[in-house]
């Protein structure tokens, strides 16, 4: 009994959580090892080419459009892995029956979840940074990075990750995959991330204030561009609400017994 008690004792607390987290980060990286480099390269190329390609829509791109395009691409690169790739990866895990196995691993589920977000950040960040660099070189956009970039990226990524996770864990695999693709379309073209909100019809701009995508761009942009305030406080609140809502759905979905 003594041995059992001892074992029982170490299976909690911060160090146990941290240990599970680092192990799961390694696990996730090894799991995608085969495509990790490829995925990062694709993100780099898309980050750079999107910023360059959209510029071709214009005869002469105005500075405001260029600022929105480059910082918007930063946001898109950052969140697509967590929000769009995750539902697809998890759908594949469900179809290949790995899904149940993963939850049987002896690590806290919160540690496993955050480990995946860490990996998503590592894959998305290089492409996001390249978008900023390309924007600076091609369009002469200058940045004024404030310390708020850390909470902004954290809030954006966490909300995006929880949205992706909520979709992945509550929806059927096929539905999750289709929803994720449709979401990418909305993010790229119907949310004022890569272009200023005044380009949208009024009702769509208003709707976007309450959807999570535009607020992600607002908080990140306010930490990257000088004099770009927007409704930062409101945006954090909207993100928080979405994060809590999706978080609750995730907790319900991954915590329930079947």
């Amino acid at each position: 009994m003594a041995a059992l008690d001892a074992e029982f004792k170490i299976r909690r607390g911060l160090s146990y959580w941290w240990d599970g987290y680092t192990r799961m980060v390694r696990w996730e990286f090894i799991d995608i090892r085969g495509i990790a480099v490829f995925a990062i390269v694709i993100q780099l190329v898309i980050g750079a080419l999107f910023v360059l390609g959209v510029g071709l829509f214009f005869d002469d791109i105005p500075l405001r459009s260029a600022q929105y395009l480059t910082t918007g691409s930063f946001v898109v690169c950052l969140i697509t892995v967590a929000m769009v790739a995750a539902p697809q990866i998890i759908a594949a895990q469900k179809m290949s029956q790995q899904y149940e196995y993963r939850w049987s691993l002896p690590v806290p589920r919160s540690a496993a979840t955050l480990a995946w977000f860490t990996v998503a950040l590592a894959i998305g960040l290089p492409g996001a940074l390249v978008a900023l660099v390309v924007g600076a070189i091609r369009y002469g956009v200058t940045y004024d990075v404030s310390a708020m970039i850390v909470p902004a990226v954290f809030a954006g990524l966490l909300t995006a990750g929880l949205i992706g996770y909520a979709m992945a864990h509550t929806l059927k695999p096929m539905v999750a995959q289709l929803t994720a693709t449709a979401l990418l379309f909305v993010v790229l073209g119907f949310a004022p991330i890569n272009f200023p909100p005044e380009n949208l019809p009024g009702w769509l701009a208003t709707l976007n204030l309450w959807l999570p995508f535009y607020p992600m761009a607002v908080v990140v942009r306010s930490a990257l561009l000088p004099g770009e305030a927007g409704n930062v406080a409101q945006s954090y609140l909207v993100l928080g609400a979405w994060a809590i809502g999706c978080g609750a759905a995730v907790i319900w979905a991954i915590g329930r017994r079947k």
């Binding site: 080419l49 005869d59 790229l188 119907f190 949208l200």
Partner: protein
């Protein structure tokens, strides 16, 4: 001797135009039955990439001059055609390889050329309603007036046929389904951002203009645009028709070569 009679009759009907027509009709029915379940998704993708993209392009621009709106609207039909030929056709073939029905199709007792012809016919016809709806959405969104020419019919049929033919060749020539998937995604990315379909080619750097001059997308757009707003294509589109035709024939040649190879 009745049995022999039957054998002889079957053997003698398996050639000649009658056999071909019968095979063609059967294959059309066969393909239609397989594709029917995808019709809604088919239309959704066309609307997303045609009408959806045309609306999206407009959001990126703070001000949309009339000529740009006309360019975008007349590019919509081409944008709605491309996913059918260059994405759905090769991915359907990749799907057949994954599920093992690819070999089965070639075992059907019809000439291989008929199997291909039936696919071309069906996809060309099925692509057209989506194109028209996407175009109407574009016209409604930008309020432009089109000057529709009778040449719209051959223009749409030829471009749809070309897209289906090249997609067909791609699907058969690339034997790894995952690679097919990647190539089709690349094509979409390239078409949406780096092909002068919704924009005049003069926006592009010289080298990219040269690349596009050899690819089919710009010429598809020119052919269609000439029959919707002729004044946007003052130089005429004879050479564009020629290049689109060349890509069509090229698609057929590659497909024929791949399909005739025995393994």
């Amino acid at each position: 001797m009745a049995a022999t009679g039957v054998t002889l009759r079957t053997a003698s009907t398996r050639s000649g135009p009658g056999y071909w027509v019968a095979g063609y009709v059967s294959m059309l029915r066969f393909d239609w039955a397989r594709m029917r379940q995808w019709l809604v998704m088919f239309l959704a993708i066309q609307l997303l990439m045609g009408a959806g993209m045309s609306v999206m392009y407009g959001f990126f621009l703070p001000v949309i001059p009339d000529v740009v709106a006309l360019y975008i609207t007349t590019g919509v039909p081409t944008l709605a055609l491309i996913p059918v030929g260059f994405v759905i056709v090769p991915q359907t073939i990749a799907q057949q390889r994954l599920e093992g029905s690819y070999e089965f199709l070639w075992s059907l007792p019809v000439p291989k050329i008929i199997v291909a012809a039936s696919t071309f016919t069906l996809l060309t016809v099925l692509a057209l309603p989506g194109v028209v709806i996407a175009l109407l959405v574009g016209v409604w969104r930008y309020g432009v007036t089109l000057d529709v020419q009778p040449s719209i019919v051959p223009a749409l049929v030829l471009t749809a046929l070309m897209a289906a033919s090249v997609g067909y060749a791609m699907g058969h020539a690339i034997s790894n389904p995952q690679l097919t998937n990647m190539v089709t995604n690349l094509v979409v990315f390239f078409v949406l951002l780096f092909s002068p379909i919704a924009f005049p080619p003069s926006r592009f750097p010289q080298w990219l203009q040269t690349v596009n001059a050899w690819l089919p997308f710009e010429h598809m757009a020119a052919v269609v645009r000439a029959s919707l707003a002729p004044h946007l294509v003052p130089g005429g589109v004879a050479s564009d028709y020629l290049i689109v035709t060349a890509w069509t024939v090229g698609g057929w040649l590659v497909a024929t070569w791949v399909v005739r190879r025995r393994r």
